[in-house]
Symmetry: C2
Subunit: 185 residues, 2 copies
């Protein structure tokens, strides 16, 4: 916890298939082992719950992120560390989240488009290329590269463990006064 009892909100942004959820899950486990209260909010999963029915137009994508932000805010102000895994493609969305969340940490999960497309874990890039799905980030919709993220991770060149360590080191560095208390215990 930091920010007057608020939890951190580690916001993972990046292309589909860049490794946001994989990295967030890895970190979630690490933080739980430290005895912290943690929740992982996955953009894909939230589209089945509080974001059900929203499409992928610019407006609906923004509404989607507003709801995720609302949820992250409720949790983090109660001392929960929140990990958000969501493409969050537009700069204004990330500005919204930063403005709303005292513990916001922007983590850019960077991976070249051709690598994401080669991985294509969910088969979505193939569908986007064939036109079976539209408004797909990186193919038929834009991704504004973060201009000033708090942390940048490269998943095509660094390992999961290395990236996890980068975040943990950043968190430790960002809150040196708490090293002897909850943050590092």
């Amino acid at each position: 916890m930091n920010n007057n009892g608020h939890g951190s909100v580690l916001w993972f942004t990046g292309l589909s298939g860049a490794g946001k959820t994989t990295t967030a899950k890895f970190l979630e486990e690490k933080l739980r082992k430290q005895g912290r209260r943690v929740e992982l909010l996955d953009g894909d999963e939230l589209r089945d719950t509080i974001c059900k029915g929203l499409g992928f137009s610019r407006e609906e994508r923004f509404e989607n992120i507003k709801r995720v932000t609302y949820l992250a805010r409720l949790l983090s102000r109660n001392g929960v560390d929140v990990l958000v895994s969501a493409i969050t493609p537009y700069t204004e969305m990330r500005e919204h989240a930063r403005a709303q969340l005292p513990g916001y940490v922007e983590i850019y999960v960077k991976c070249p488009l051709h690598v994401c497309e080669m991985r294509d874990v969910k088969g979505l890039y193939a569908k986007a290329r064939s036109g079976a799905i539209t408004q797909f980030t990186g193919i038929s919709d834009s991704y504004d590269e973060p201009s000033n993220p708090d942390i940048t991770l490269c998943t095509s060149t660094a390992t999961l463990e290395q990236n996890g360590d980068t975040i943990l080191a950043w968190l430790g560095h960002a809150a040196p006064l708490e090293k002897s208390t909850s943050r590092r215990d």
Copy 2:
């Protein structure tokens, strides 16, 4: 907290104008003074955030309650006491909430329809009677009276303070083992 670190979920159900939010706000303040982490989820307010765009058909009302339940679950499993103020008119909705929430406490805020209608704080009953709004609980949509609530409050005959005491007494009685620890401190 109770239920293995889960917070309680005090779910206020009843007609529009029965006094759900008034009672919940009163209790919220009391619980905060006890040093507990508390969130009040108001059904009306959530229709501007995570439930935006949902209407009042049976299906949409249920979807609305599912989202509120989802949010209450995330908070309560992190030790937050959650107060929910929402009409929650159908039995199956309350069964859903009870099944999903380990700390669920059903509080029936009981008030005769004619009293709610006389109060008509938001002017909604007048609109419902004139037909300006449809599917309005108690007028043009049903309210299944709770058959076995944990607590029943009568807002037309008891004062706010009395009702607040009833809930606090119930909470104290329901968790006698915690009387000397967090619950009563």
